[in-house]
């Protein structure tokens, strides 16, 4: 393993931070079969290594426990997210869904809570009596759509006509969407509107006019996308732009080769996870923003459209021993495994070895706190790299074969089956501009 980072001739703040990060991460990349008995026993006791081998395990049960606390009362430290309560709901519910752990009895609570955040004028705010905002709207709708297959009343919680009118009100002549009334315009606005409009069958030509043009104008010389024209390329915005363009069927309007190169270069050669921008540090959440973006690009290259997930039918056979997971068929995560243009095995290794908190939950990097946001996006990235474009639908898995989680749809980031269900439910609803604005 190369350790060139320490050979910098000139030290800068940036190089010091990178070296520190590599040093922080390196102890987690130990060879398991080189440990002594008591060290190995400890790891097995906490559940990180499987009982009869040397494979790293996803701590499913502990993560589920941690996520359920997120749906309950939160401690004082979370006051800074008071305007983002739908996000917390979505991060936790989606993560639980990937782990196949969303109980039916959560549905009524999800519906009643999120309904109270919806405004008559359309869209959802971060909490009751809060202004409708693109981000909580996106999160609320996704949360409702992922529980809806189990309780279809959730589909009707979304006030479609009002939502459409609100989307239109956020639209600007440049093609970008504001995040909220009188708010900022950037590519997050584009994605949050287009993704939800697509899922709820509200993509009219009127809504989409000029949207692709604005999005493409955010591509930089490096190949990635910034939040607004003139901004530097950044993982979060790159995902928003790529997913929005793919949903609109217009990915080829941008320089796809440059984009691909930029995303691929964001995978850290030592850590294995992704960084958000050049010369910045690895962070578990980019497992989805960057990994997912690449999955969308690869899917498009394979001729798939926005709604095609690139995941072949996954029917988990329930293991009678109660585990609930089909452990029989997985593909080993060798360097060339999988159909995505990044090292899927190394990404999974980063998530499992460095991203997991031993008491449940996942994080940015070992020196950071676990939180629901990082749990959601680490797991989403894990899912993408296991399933999207995997040959014959056989997931590519690093570590224990039971690490397979449910497949997420790279464009929308809820489970593939939830996307299909939403498509089915909304396909016959009115999707005509003149009708909707009545």
């Amino acid at each position: 393993m190369s350790a060139f980072a320490s050979k910098f001739t000139v030290e800068t703040e940036t190089t010091k931070l990178q070296q520190d990060t590599e040093a922080e991460v390196s102890p987690f990349f130990i060879k398991l079969d080189g440990l002594n008995d008591s060290q190995l026993k400890h790891l097995r006791d906490v559940g990180l290594v499987n009982e009869t081998g040397y494979d790293v395990r996803l701590l499913r049960e502990k993560h589920v426990k941690y996520l359920l606390t997120g749906l309950g009362n939160l401690s004082a430290g979370y006051s800074s997210l008071d305007a983002s309560r739908p996000w917390i709901a979505y991060w936790c519910l989606h993560s639980l869904d990937l782990l196949d752990a969303v109980d039916d009895d959560l549905c009524p609570r999800v519906m009643s809570t999120l309904k109270s955040f919806q405004n008559e004028t359309g869209g959802f705010g971060g909490g009751p009596m809060q202004l409708s905002h693109g981000a909580p709207t996106y999160a609320s709708c996704l949360a409702l759509l992922l529980v809806a297959p189990k309780c279809p009343a959730a589909y009707e919680c979304i006030d479609r006509p009002a939502l459409y009118k609100w989307f239109l009100a956020m639209k600007t002549p440049t093609g970008g969407f504001r995040m909220h009334d009188d708010g900022e315009v950037d590519v997050r606005g584009t994605y949050t509107v287009i993704a939800i409009a697509a899922l709820c069958n509200l993509l009219t030509p009127e809504l989409c006019e000029n949207v692709a043009e604005f999005t493409v104008s955010c591509q930089t010389y490096e190949g990635g996308f910034g939040g607004e024209p003139g901004n530097e390329a950044h993982g979060g915005y790159a995902f928003c732009a790529v997913a929005a363009l793919q949903i609109l069927g217009k990915l080829d309007m941008c320089d796809v080769e440059a984009l691909k190169g930029w995303i691929a270069r964001r995978q850290m050669s030592f850590e294995g996870g992704f960084q958000g921008r050049a010369n910045k540090l690895v962070d578990g959440c980019y497992s989805f923003w960057q990994g997912g973006a690449m999955a969308v690009v690869n899917a498009a290259e394979n001729g798939l459209s926005g709604f095609d997930s690139g995941v072949e039918e996954f029917i988990p056979e329930v293991d009678s021993s109660g585990d609930g997971v089909d452990v029989s068929k997985v593909a080993e995560a060798t360097p060339s495994a999988g159909g995505l243009t990044f090292d899927q095995g190394l990404l999974q290794r980063y998530v499992l070895l460095c991203g997991q908190h031993v008491e449940g939950g996942l994080r940015d990097k070992p020196s950071k706190m676990r939180d629901y946001y990082h749990t959601c996006y680490n797991l989403s990235g894990l899912s993408v790299s296991q399933h999207v474009l995997s040959e014959d639908g056989v997931p590519v898995v690093y570590g224990d074969s039971a690490n397979v989680i449910a497949p997420t749809h790279a464009c929308f980031n809820i489970r593939v089956d939830r996307v299909k269900a939403a498509q089915t439910y909304f396909k016959d609803k009115i999707c005509d501009h003149t009708e909707l604005i009545k």
Partner: protein, 480 residues
């Protein structure tokens, strides 16, 4: 959440007094939010309510709804100092940004306030503010964004002619999108070029103290074309292109010191590549004067690069040499494509060095090597044993026609999937007989035959396109 150090936070939280104080804070916070909402419902608008929202925002800067409420109050009464002033708004946003320098609504509100109180706000002071925030985090894109907005204000972008305005907007120098109060007409025409150049100098200063400041490079990637555009207004395409190359030369000089000081930092290399790319001449079928001067520029960069490579490689293969080798290969390929400068062997040597120095990507370099050969490989003739016996004779050309012909054109015999090269001796053109060491190939109007010690093998002519790629690869493999 992002940025909180685990060890520190876990230590804090285990302290009972800390959690007690925090809980108290939250009870207080919830009460304040309730109070704000009650007033909002009644559309109350006064300084007391302004203060109240300020207290909540100081605790939770991301509460967008309350920022909106503040704006509503300010807009509802435009008599000076009625509710909210530049002073109050700059103070509250300052406080919130200290707490969370990445808070979208806080930056947005400052932008809005700057415009609303345009007579009181001072653009220079605000630019100074961004310089200071950048000292704390030079990659904060919200801050860069705000700075670009301020520059657009100084340039009075909204009152510029359409195409210039569009150009500036696409580089992020955009005026506020919502309908602000109209900006006062400029008293003198704005000095655009000096301002952009001073921004360029600002990034030079940042880069010289930290070569890895990618955001600064990014900003330059927008500033340089804008500056060039303004400097070459009204000039002919030829003059403009020549000016572009001069600018690139200057930029390369700056880059040179970054690269030579720290060759393992990839950011400078990608910017280098972008510079060369963006200066490429307009495409054409002939070798234009533009192509010539561009080729000169490219060529002039190769010796410093070779110098760097030998310097780096004196200590064995380093990542620094890898980047330099990659760019050098790219330059040589470009020169080849541009003016037909055949540097085939040279470029291949570089690929060989890359294979050794960048093991992780070995297969990719081999692929590039093979790709090049494959692109130029052509099957010229192919004959097959009559009766479908399977033996095949083909003539293959690889690469360009330079040097002794047998280096790039040769005959092969394929027997049971294995290729062997036929050593050419002579060609009797008149009689259509090619003599090889192991036999003779006769071709005439009726057909063809292979005459050797084994006797005569009758051959039929086949189509070039019938030859499978694998067969050609096999020939290339055994060629040398």
């Amino acid at each position: 959440m992002h940025g909180r150090n685990r060890i520190e936070y876990e230590a804090k939280v285990s302290n009972a007094d800390f959690t007690k104080a925090l809980t108290k804070k939250v009870i207080n916070y919830t009460a304040l939010v309730k109070a704000c909402n009650a007033r909002k419902a009644k559309k109350v608008s006064d300084n007391e309510t302004l203060k109240l929202t300020g207290t909540v925002l100081g605790i939770n800067p991301d509460y967008a709804t309350l920022w909106n409420y503040r704006r509503e109050m300010i807009k509802s009464d435009s008599s000076p100092g009625a509710v909210g002033t530049w002073t109050t708004e700059s103070e509250i946003t300052n406080k919130c940004l200290q707490k969370n320098p990445k808070s979208y609504p806080s930056w947005f509100h400052r932008k809005w306030s700057f415009l609303h109180f345009v007579e009181d706000s001072n653009v220079q002071e605000e630019i100074e503010l961004t310089t200071n925030f950048l000292k704390l985090d030079e990659r904060n894109f919200h801050c860069w964004n705000y700075r670009r907005f301020l520059i657009s204000q100084s340039l009075s972008v909204s009152s510029l002619p359409t195409d210039l305005r569009a150009l500036l907007c696409s580089s992020g120098f955009a005026p506020q999108l919502s309908s602000p109060p109209p900006s006062p007409p400029p008293s003198s025409s704005p000095e655009i070029l000096p301002l952009l150049q001073s921004e360029l100098n600002f990034t030079t200063h940042l880069i010289s103290s930290n070569f890895s400041n990618y955001s600064a490079y990014h900003y330059r990637s927008h500033l340089l074309p804008l500056i060039l555009h303004l400097q070459t207004l009204g000039q002919s395409p030829a003059e403009t292109y020549s000016a572009k190359l001069s600018q690139t030369k200057e930029e390369l000089k700056l880059l040179q010191s970054a690269i030579f000081t720290e060759p393992s930092d990839q950011s400078s290399w990608w910017y280098y590549r972008h510079l060369l790319n963006s200066s490429s001449p307009p495409p054409s079928n002939s070798i234009t004067p533009e192509k010539k001067i561009y080729a000169e520029l490219l060529h002039s960069t190769t010796s410093p690069l070779r110098e760097l490579i030998s310097l780096e490689m004196s200590e064995g293969f380093t990542p620094g040499s890898k980047w330099a080798l990659n760019i050098l290969h790219y330059i040589l390929e470009t020169l080849d494509a541009l003016i037909g400068m055949n540097l085939g062997d040279d470029a291949d040597e570089i690929l060989d060095m890359l294979i050794l120095s960048d093991e992780d990507k070995k297969l990719r370099y081999l692929e590039i090597k093979n790709e090049k050969v494959r692109k130029k490989t052509e099957v010229l003739f192919v004959f097959q044993e009559r009766g479908g016996g399977g033996e095949v004779f083909l003539e293959v050309r690889r690469g360009r026609g330079e040097g002794p012909k047998d280096k790039y054109v040769s005959w092969f015999r394929i027997k049971e999937g294995k290729a062997s090269r036929l050593k050419f001796k002579s060609w009797d053109k008149e009689n259509g007989v090619r003599m090889f060491e192991t036999g003779a190939l006769q071709v005439d109007a009726e057909g063809a035959g292979w005459i050797s010690g084994e006797g005569l093998m009758e051959l039929v002519k086949r189509k070039k396109t019938d030859v499978e790629r694998d067969v050609v690869n096999e020939c290339l493999r055994v060629w040398d």
